[in-house]
Amino acid sequence: MTMLGHRVPMMASLLVWCVVWEIVGRLDLIFLLPPFSAVLAAAVDLVQTASWQSATITTLRAFFFGMALAIVAGIPLGILMGRSKIADDLLGMWVNIFSSAPLSAIVPVLMILFGFGEKTIVAAVFLFAIWIIVLDTRAGVRHISPSLIEMALSYGASRTALYTKIILWAALPEILAGIRLGLIRGVKGVVIGQLLVAIVGYGALFETFSRNFLMAEFWALTIILFGFALVVAELIERAEAKVEYYAGARQ
């Protein structure tokens, strides 16, 4: 998009939407939508409250534990499926099912298995995030040019060397993409987990705000969460851009 000869960054249009929001909010058309400025003000207040801070800590902790587990388990599983046909045949179906199934339905079941509070939320994040990481890692491993592997073998690479010096690196672009998508799904998982089972952290705040019609606070929290999801995704994307050149180089 160019305007008056200047390139206007795409995300700038979000500002336009914010202005629209402000106007609609001021017109007082829908009680659910306070003016954007009021939401910002509420956000400033919100971040100073103890309950937001503790909710953030709870949520972040569950999120990072869940993500760490998903990454630590997902990458080896993806590599295994990428390299071993039997593993792929055995697990592929389930990974595919779980990666696209409405996992929210399972969240209540998690509670039975993991108890309440943190563990279940961690499990929800894990469950939401892992499958796409597995799938992408698997695809990354599958995309590795066979000649790169043959190259390593022909120079006498041991199994460990093959995995640590070639496969992990060569699949890195897809692994990162998987982690990025996994993070986005993980954020959804943490919120859904907190809303559906144990009402803690952000889920509790959301419920409190929406049930009591504290709309400015509700939207403030929403914006903070959206912002978080986008920033995390953006960070990974930066890392991806660093390795992008060899994503293409591997075709």
Partner: protein
């Protein structure tokens, strides 16, 4: 100068004085695609032998069996008298698509074979630097593959193969991803390199001119299942200006003869 053309059935292999690689009765099928059938072949030490044939005739398969990367269904390959079961330090492969690690610099790529053998870093980088210079890439040590042209990338692949000091170099269409003019340059370089280094080269190509231009010996394979259809020794004098070869009558005769032989397989 004479173009010694030897037709042979599977048994009548010409036995050169000293052959470093001996292929005996190799057959290979992928599922129900029969790629190679009963290949008997000897590769003379210190010579460049080309494998030439229509697409899909099993050239790559044969080369990889020699490299120990693929197991044959039947038959054996022996290098220096020892039967090949897997890749070994006396053979090095140069890949059609270069097979460079895009995340590693030129020098790390070249030194990779040594890295896998556990050579110390300083030592392996010295060796690598030597061969990088040898293939004409001095000063590109710290570049990454994506910063190089196709021709330069293939030189990196070649330097890597040279740096492990293998006796036998296996090259699978090393120039097919290199543009025409660079390719020509590279062919001239390879001819020079072959005389300097006392290595045995086994070279797969699609290009008749290329095969005739650089080879001491050309093995023609028939379409799938690949069998040896002809062995040609162009016996061209390569001592002078490489450009002169292109006008050598024997060169031209050999190219035409091969072309006439292969034409029927095309489309």
């Amino acid at each position: 100068m004479r173009a010694s053309v030897v037709r042979n059935g599977p048994t009548s292999v010409i036995e050169p004085i000293d052959s470093i690689v001996k292929v005996r009765g190799i057959s290979k099928a992928y599922g129900n695609v029969e790629a190679l059938r009963g290949i008997d072949l000897d590769f003379p030490r210190g010579k460049l032998t080309s494998l030439l044939g229509p697409s899909g005739c099993g050239k790559t398969t044969l080369l990889k069996i020699i490299a120990g990367l693929i197991d044959a269904d039947a038959g054996t390959v022996a290098v220096e008298g020892k039967t090949v079961t897997r890749p070994g330090p006396e053979r090095a492969f140069v890949f059609q698509d270069f097979a460079l690690m895009p995340w590693a610099t030129v020098i790390r790529n070249v030194a990779f074979g040594l890295e896998l053998r556990g050579t110390r870093k300083a030592e392996r980088e010295d060796i690598a630097r030597h061969y990088i210079a040898e293939v004409g890439l001095a000063s590109f040590e710290d570049k990454y593959p994506h910063e190089l042209s196709g021709g330069m990338r293939q030189r990196v692949g070649l330097a890597r193969a040279l740096s492990v000091k293998a006796d036998v170099l296996l090259l699978d269409e090393p120039f097919s991803a290199v543009d025409e003019q660079n390719r020509r340059k590279f062919q001239e370089d390879l001819i020079r390199l072959r005389t300097n280094q006392n290595k045995t080269f086994i070279f797969v190509t699609h290009s008749i001119e290329e095969a005739v231009y650089i080879s001491d010996r050309i093995v023609l394979l028939s379409p799938r299942p690949g069998r040896i259809s002809q062995i040609i020794e162009p016996d061209i004098d390569r001592s002078g200006d490489p450009e002169r070869i292109h006008r050598d009558k024997h060169y031209l005769d050999t190219v035409d003869e091969i072309w006439r032989g292969l034409k029927r397989y095309v489309e």
